[in-house]
Symmetry: C2
Amino acid sequence: MTNEELLGTTALNSWKLVIGRFDQNLAAISDEQLQKQVAPGKNRLFYLVGHLTAVHDRMLPMLGLGERLHPELDEVFITNPDRAVPDLVSASDLRKAWSEVNRKLTDAFERFTATEWLEKHTAVSDEDFAKDRTRNRLAVVMSRTNHVSFHSGQAVLAK
Amino acid sequence: MTNEELLGTTALNSWKLVIGRFDQNLAAISDEQLQKQVAPGKNRLFYLVGHLTAVHDRMLPMLGLGERLHPELDEVFITNPDRAVPDLVSASDLRKAWSEVNRKLTDAFERFTATEWLEKHTAVSDEDFAKDRTRNRLAVVMSRTNHVSFHSGQAVLAK
């Protein structure tokens, strides 16, 4: 493996590790427990899962991997804070969406060459990307990996 | 910049972004506020800062960057849970240690070539590393970056 391949694989492992841990924790939680808040007055686990699913779904067009699978989640889980609108999706559909979106992303990431990792994402202009080539797909995926970790730290408090 | 240099720089940016955000939040918190728990019965902010400082300090020998600066933090912030032993370090010394350790790490990371990012860390054997070359310095730094994000997610709940 060349250096650039190895760097890409190492970065991808970080994504897979963080998602895998979240999946494990989620599998150990019942649908009823998903209604628990991470701390008094804070987000429910249900909201965190929906929020992360919606944010990850947005990565599909952002990284040029196709259309969104679940744009309907934005209204409930991004635009609005927790409990502002009724839950429109069941726990089981939410679990399914979370897995489906991550599977599609991970499958694509596993096929990325180093050059593909370094392509620009669609939320940056050609002009800005020319000035700063670190605004690439890898930067987006690492940012989202940290975002999952951020909310994972909150989720474990509900245990 | 070559692909491998750009991949290394992109990964390093993720570390710097996460540490930078934590620094900003920490600067906005008084020493008194550091005594707040992130949720009832959970860790104090003070403990989280100490824990992260100790874990980062351990990266120095782990990544072959020299001796530890603050091995005395382990007893209070890694071996023991929060409030099990009295605080032996002042808030101002803790803030100083946090900055000092991260500065030393970041300075070293900024000089890493792609090949140096991909060197093995000292916690993996030669034999295991030969089988799995993703057990390298970059993997450690990305894991620690996610670890900071994990506790950052908890820290913001104390706001």
